[in-house]
């Protein structure tokens, strides 16, 4: 279907019993400023076309004008629900380009905050996903638990959402006093809370009926569209960068990778949910074996990496965050290209939505867990 700029379908494109519905950019279930043009036949979706760009902030161009260090806070604003993993992807690219060796303790701390961030991000996903399906209460429960992690991060770096904790060559600072104890308290509390969510929502018959068989994506389609993270694993592709292409200190830890089968909303949701248990395991291992040492390598204030290009990628809560960095030998990056998982997943939306109902598109958008700050950049 083609749509003219005046939001009209091209002549003769719309059947008589169909009509267009404009969903968003102000809609409670589009998770930000996403607009989806729905072509519906009654309640049945014939087509769903995402329309993006409402949150475009020219990140990639702005980054070219700033020094390598100054770009770190900018990356926080992309996937603002999971700022730590963004920073990690970016600083890893700079370190690879400049050949900087990161101390072991810093690597472990990076894993620690990245996994706590994953739990926090998945909690936001869980709450909003339940909200999309009409259950109000899980949202407040999830936010209540996320609060623990945000408090930890606040103690660590003073910020609750945009941390700027990763630095080129390490992290900003060591753990504050009491951090380990509080994290252990959280580790003790969290499994029982996760089981509570399961009983309340994930094992609910209505939830299963709403999500099983909805928004199905085959493994081939998922790979072809560049899906990654839980969206890819929900379709049965066993691929996790933390395990298959270990970065930072991930090769030191034991953890499982939950994989789904049918690639529907339910499998994606279960994959995400189970990942929280695995992240808890990693956090525990980090706390048990945290090595002593520096948390930051010596890096010159004016960093001039040699000319060249590099691509690094990390497993963010949403999928593969990739950074393509080009240096011309100057103090500012020549080009920063950001590969956002949400962008790739949003392209799957028309594939997933076809033939389902208006209520289902809300569940589908919730299940791919997009962040519009990352889609539009």
């Amino acid at each position: 279907m083609t749509i003219t700029p005046e939001f009209r379908p091209a002549p003769g494109d719309l059947e008589e019993h169909e009509f267009l519905v404009n969903m968003g950019p102000q809609h409670p279930s589009t998770h930000g400023v996403l607009r989806v043009i729905l072509r519906v036949d009654g309640e049945r979706l014939v087509d769903a076309i995402p329309d993006i760009g409402f949150l475009h902030r020219c990140f990639e161009k702005v980054a070219e004008g700033w020094t390598y260090q100054q770009v770190v806070p900018l990356t926080d604003r992309l996937d603002y629900v999971s700022a730590m993993t963004n920073e990690l992807a970016y600083v890893m690219a700079v370190e690879k380009l400049a050949g900087i060796e990161v101390p072991e303790r810093a690597q472990w701390l990076r894993v620690l905050v990245a996994e706590l961030q994953r739990i926090a991000s998945h909690l936001v996903w869980f709450g909003t996903f339940a909200l999309d399906l009409g259950a109000t209460t899980p949202f407040l429960y999830a936010i209540r638990e996320r609060e623990h992690i945000l408090d930890l991060f606040e103690a660590l770096c003073g910020a609750r959402l945009t941390y700027s904790y990763m630095r080129i060559g390490g992290v900003r600072g060591d753990l504050p006093p009491g951090f380990v104890g509080k994290t252990r308290e959280f580790l003790k509390l969290m499994p029982s809370r996760l089981r509570e969510y399961e009983n309340l929502f994930m094992r609910n018959r209505i939830f299963e009926n709403r999500t099983k068989g909805i928004g199905r994506v085959t493994a081939e389609e998922a790979v072809a569209y560049g899906a990654s993270g839980p969206t890819l694993r929900g379709s049965g592709v066993d691929w996790d960068l933390r395990r298959d292409e270990p970065y930072s200190a991930y090769d030191r830890f034991e953890f499982g990778v939950p994989v789904g089968q049918s690639g529907d909303v339910y499998d994606r949701a279960v994959c995400r949910f189970k990942e929280m248990y695995e992240s808890l395991k990693i956090v525990e291992q980090v706390l048990d074996g945290l090595p002593e040492g520096d948390v930051r390598a010596k890096v010159p204030r004016v960093l001039k990496p040699p000319a060249g290009d590099v691509y690094t990628r990390v497993e963010s809560p949403r999928g593969e965050v990739g950074v393509y960095l080009v240096s011309d030998g100057g103090p500012k990056p020549y080009r920063v290209k950001w590969r956002a998982p949400s962008f790739a997943h949003l392209r799957l939306l028309p594939v997933m939505a076809k033939g389902h109902m208006v209520a289902d598109i809300v569940a589908i958008i919730g299940s791919i867990d997009i962040i519009l700050g990352e889609v539009d950049r």
């Binding site: 809609h27 409670p28 309640e43 009409g134 259950a135 609910n204 209505i206 109902m357």
Partner: protein
């Protein structure tokens, strides 16, 4: 003292009634005046209870979600919050969309409130506290309760917004699937009590509440009630996260207040009906009948709220399937078994 006062008022009423019945003119005027008094009483009852119910729902959902709910406006526990909200709604601009069908758009809130008030006519709040003890009470109920959907359709179509139209279509589709099982479930009660009068149904439960002999009928009634009330898990016509607010999305200010009022008035009315049909109405030991009636009704309302704040929402086709493939057969079986039982005893 209250008993004396009641007897005194009764005496005054009887005197005036006797005096008025001597001439046809005064008799007609008397019925009209008495009717107006009844309407005002019912309206007052509804408004006071709705204010309490909205506050109760907020506090209750706060409890469920481990937060406090309203605390600031009015101490203790923000009791004045709903009053403040109502005043705020009165001060809002009254917006009618340019493309709207003005007549339908304007009438719809009035219709939904009237339909809700109609239900109160046959709610027995005590042995003699009933607006009108119709001998076809239950039949009247079934007719009056489904009027609200007409208003949903009027609002959805009249707004000429696609979202509200979708909400209205859902409302209409839901009506056909829950109304039939609901009425069939109620017929089980009617068979047992042998009367259509709501007050007589309450009186016939002096020994045994009908929920104990009609458990399946009650469950069918309960499920249909959630659809009728537009509440989670069947709040499809409103569906905050899908249709944003469904049929009433274009309404603001006082007109929206009417929808809001009607929603809670409907909750109270149908809970009262459920109590009347299955929980022995105003019957109970020690306490006065009206107190028993209110206690049971509020208990039932808390059950409805508890379910609302726990469950996710079903999809519209799933509700239709549930209505026709589960509720209707269950109601029919219940009816057949009840019929055989009544025939044998």
């Amino acid at each position: 003292m209250p008993a004396d006062l009641g007897a005194f008022l009764q005496g005054v009423f009887d005197q005036v009634h006797l005096w008025a019945s001597q001439s046809p003119f005064w008799s007609a005027l008397f019925s009209l005046g008495w009717g107006i008094v009844k309407v005002i009483l019912v309206l007052g009852f509804i408004i006071v209870n709705v204010l309490v119910l909205v506050w109760l729902e907020r506090k209750f959902s706060g409890r469920v979600q481990s937060r406090l709910g309203p605390m600031r406006v009015g101490r203790p526990h923000g009791w004045a919050q709903t009053i403040a909200d109502m005043i705020k709604l009165l001060g809002k601009e009254d917006i009618v969309p340019r493309a709207a069908d003005k007549a339908l758009f304007v009438i719809a809130p009035v219709v939904i409130f009237t339909a809700t008030m109609l239900v109160y006519v046959v709610v027995p709040m005590g042995p003699r506290t009933i607006v009108s003890d119709l001998n076809i009470g239950v039949l009247y109920l079934a007719a009056a309760a489904s009027f609200t959907v007409i208003s949903v359709l009027m609002a959805g179509w009249g707004s000429s917004s696609k979202w509200s139209l979708l909400g209205a279509l859902r409302g209409a589709a839901m009506l056909v699937s829950y109304e039939v099982p609901m009425v069939l479930a109620v017929i089980g009660v009617v068979l047992l009590s042998g009367t259509l009068s709501t007050n007589a149904i309450v009186e016939s439960q002096s020994g045994l509440w009908y929920i104990l002999v009609q458990p399946i009928g009650f469950l069918v009634f309960l499920a249909a009630l959630f659809a009728e009330l537009n509440r989670v898990p069947f709040d499809l016509a409103e569906a905050e996260s899908e249709l944003v607010s469904g049929f009433n999305i274009e309404y603001s200010g006082l007109r929206f207040a009417f929808f809001f009022l009607a929603e809670y008035a409907n909750l109270l009315a149908l809970s009262a009906i459920a109590v009347t049909l299955y929980f022995g109405g105003w019957q109970g030991p020690f306490l006065p009948p009206f107190v028993w009636f209110m206690l049971k009704t509020y208990g039932f309302i808390l059950l409805v709220m508890w379910i609302r704040w726990t469950l996710p929402r079903v999809r519209v086709d799933q509700l239709l399937e549930f209505g026709w493939k589960v509720l209707l057969p269950a109601a029919l079986v219940n009816l057949a078994v009840t019929g055989v039982y009544v025939l044998l005893t």
